[in-house]
């Protein structure tokens, strides 16, 4: 004795497929969303109290990263410059620019500028800038083309899979120690070989493996161990 119409058979069969499809689609959407700039803010410029342009200061004026980020080579924190660093120049140039009023105000009152942090790792991640710099990880390997950023944005998702991409194969990215702050560094190729310690390198992997030896990198097992970053 049937109480439903014959067509419900077809609906029942279709629903089996539909559940599988919807569940699969939902998982896909959630994972895509989790990797999207909507969640990670990847390449999304954030408003700042003063629209400081790295493009102008780095590419235009040729100021070295370390002029402002002074502690990047020997501390876990790269360092945000005090207002005094800004005033080194801006007490002489653009002294009346309205755009720079918050900087002058900070200098007068002694209250720091409150920047919006862009490259922000979660608190449960231990991160040290100096070890990365000293082992030959270039600034722009992680931070991207800062010299072409009118407003600062994070170049990468900062997801753990992104960290592990390099920690699992550091030879993909390492560069000579003196090239770390070079914002226009090109990985070696047949057209642009790189000579180091009397050797000629024409591809990144060979160079990377050489630098792992030269810079005494710990093994991949060591740097992918949980407690390396989650201490």
């Amino acid at each position: 004795m049937q109480i439903f119409h014959r067509s419900s058979n077809a609906i029942a069969r279709a629903s089996i497929l539909a559940v599988a499809l919807i569940a699969g689609l939902a998982l896909y959407v959630i994972l895509e969303l989790d990797r999207s700039p909507y969640v990670t803010y990847e390449k999304v410029a954030r408003p700042q109290p003063v629209p400081f342009s790295h493009q102008h200061h780095v590419a235009g004026l040729g100021i070295d990263c370390r002029y402002c980020h002074t502690s990047v080579e020997n501390s876990n924190f790269a360092g945000i410059p005090p207002t005094k660093t800004c005033m080194n120049c801006h007490s002489q140039i653009w002294t009346n620019a309205a755009l720079l009023e918050p900087v002058r105000d900070s200098f007068r009152t002694g209250h720091s500028l409150v920047w919006t942090r862009v490259n922000d790792l979660p608190d449960y991640v231990y991160f040290n800038h100096s070890i990365h710099i000293n082992k030959g990880v270039g600034c722009n390997t992680c931070h991207g083309p800062v010299d072409r950023m009118p407003l600062m944005y994070n170049n990468a998702s900062l997801r753990m899979e992104w960290c592990l991409d390099c920690h699992r194969a550091p030879d993909k990215y390492l560069r000579p120690r003196d090239q770390v702050f070079n914002m226009r560094y090109q990985q070696p190729s047949n057209d642009q070989p790189l000579s180091l310690d009397g050797q000629e390198f024409t591809d990144q992997r060979t160079l990377g493996k050489y630098l792992i030896q030269k810079h005494n990198l710990r093994t991949v097992a060591d740097i992918t161990s949980c407690s390396t970053c989650h201490r």
């Binding site: 004795m1 049937q2 753990m160």
Partner: protein, 459 residues
């Protein structure tokens, strides 16, 4: 023993699987009327409300846990696994009887299983639900418990496949899925019966939707039997594998008292032991309250009691071997563990365990204890308590005296531990109460196959 021998020698007639005098229609009416015709009784309502109180206690305990964290429990270092793991193992073990009854006994053509498999499977499902809750809330951050499943996550790592705790996730989720499917497939012909017998149009529609258009045609039955047999084949290895994997949670660790190869078989036997105790504790009241003594006869009680006796002896052998290896193995830590069980601060618990699990159940050699519902009910209670104590001994006693005596400690469960535990007991019974009144608690169509009517043409 003499009782058993006497039975064999004299060939005394055992109680039948189904009392004589029943026909297709009386079987169908008796079982489906519990669901469709029986009025709401005060007793049922009172039972539901009583259990609902404990469900709320569980919600309270879990809610507070989510706010404060696992620090509200008695767990400390070195006893990082307290009630949560004790109760997890206890509940998941209870579930095993349902699968054994429905799958293994079916493959072995033990037709007496037909009258108890349905509610035993329901018991399995509810027990697995209670069990699954514990490791989940024990993780500390249950809102990210999905990290235990392998999916292409943004962390770029897979779960630690070498960890028995991940094996657990797979074992238990497979078990829950297979048990649910098996139970539901078994229900389909009965749901169609209820659909046909219901008078209220909404009740009809609800059962009709669940019956998935079952007409009972020869083609339906032929496919149905194949599907059911396949599912039984799938579920059979689970009876052995699930508790084996649970035992690996312990046996893979190097803690004295855990690191033994006897764990898998001894855990599986213990699981079936406690599971049959729970089946009996449910069957005995159900058969008398709902007038189902014709279908759940003395034969069922006696057979279940025999399974309990046999598995109980395997468990006893396990204890004996643990003690023997503690002495014979010559490992000082194992020897200390044995000494500590017998003389340490938890010695009372260990002796209670031996009394509940090994000594008292020996009365089941006597026929009266296997067939007298009240006595059997009491023995089953004792076994369930004993099996809970066993898990307590394994978890707590092994951990509280580890290798370094500076880190020795004691375990004191807090009220929140007890709230959570009694809360799951309430949840389990709450589900059973509803199951009894909205689904046929005995498989109608399988009972019909036991009747003489169904054998006329075959013989």
């Amino acid at each position: 023993m003499t009782q058993l021998l006497e039975e064999v020698e004299t060939g005394r007639k055992r109680a039948p699987v189904i009392e004589p005098g029943h026909s297709f229609s009386t079987v169908t009416a008796k079982i489906s009327d519990v669901v469709l015709k029986r009025p709401l009784s005060i007793g049922w309502l009172a039972g539901v409300m009583f259990c609902f109180g404990f469900v709320n206690l569980l919600l309270l305990a879990v809610g507070y846990l989510f706010i404060k964290g696992t620090g509200i429990w008695g767990i400390t270092i070195p006893i990082g696994w307290g009630f949560a793991i004790v109760n997890f193992v206890w509940w998941i073990g209870i579930g095993h009887a349902g699968t054994l009854i429905s799958a293994i006994l079916m493959l072995l053509r033990q037709t007496w299983r037909n009258s108890i498999n349905r509610f035993a499977e329901a018991m399995t499902l509810f027990a697995v639900a209670c069990a699954g809750l514990f490791p989940l809330i024990h993780t500390g951050r249950p809102w990210v418990a999905y990290w235990m499943f392998p999916y292409p996550n943004t962390m770029g790592v897979w779960p630690q496949f070498r960890s028995p705790l991940i094996w657990d996730v797979f074992a238990v989720s497979t078990y829950a899925t297979t048990s649910l499917l098996f139970w539901f497939v078994g229900l389909i012909p009965d749901l169609a019966t209820l659909r046909d017998r219901a008078t209220n149009i909404w009740v009809k529609r609800a059962y009709g939707a669940l019956a998935m258009g079952w007409r009972g045609s020869a083609r339906h039955w032929s496919r149905y039997e194949t599907a059911y047999l396949l599912l039984a084949g799938l579920a059979t290895p689970l009876v052995l594998s699930v508790h084996t994997v649970v035992s690996f949670d312990f046996a893979v660790g190097i803690v004295p008292g855990w690191h033994t190869t006897i764990f898998p078989p001894y855990f599986v036997a213990g699981a079936i032991y406690s599971g049959f105790a729970m089946v009996l504790m449910l069957a005995i009241p159900i058969r008398s309250i709902y007038g189902l003594k014709d279908f759940i006869t003395e034969r069922h009680l006696e057979n279940s009691a025999k399974v309990m006796l046999a598995t109980g002896l395997i468990v006893g052998y396990g204890y004996a071997m643990e003690a023997f290896m503690g002495w014979y193995g010559g490992n000082r830590y194992d020897a200390f563990l044995l000494w500590n069980r017998l003389h340490g601060p938890y010695a009372t618990w260990y002796y209670s365990l031996l009394i509940c699990n090994i000594f008292i159940p020996q009365v089941l050699w006597i026929r009266k204890f296997r067939t007298q519902p009240v006595l059997l009910f009491l023995v089953s209670t004792v076994v369930l308590v004993g099996m809970w104590l066993e898990r307590f001994i394994i978890v707590v006693v092994s951990l509280h005296r580890d290798f370094l005596n500076s880190s020795w400690g004691m375990y004191y469960p807090t009220k929140w531990d007890w709230f959570t535990y009694t809360g799951t007991l309430g949840l389990f019974l709450f589900c059973m109460f509803f199951f009894m009144r909205i689904l046929p608690s005995i498989s109608i169509f399988e009972m019909r196959t036991l009747l003489p009517e169904s054998k006329v043409k075959a013989e």
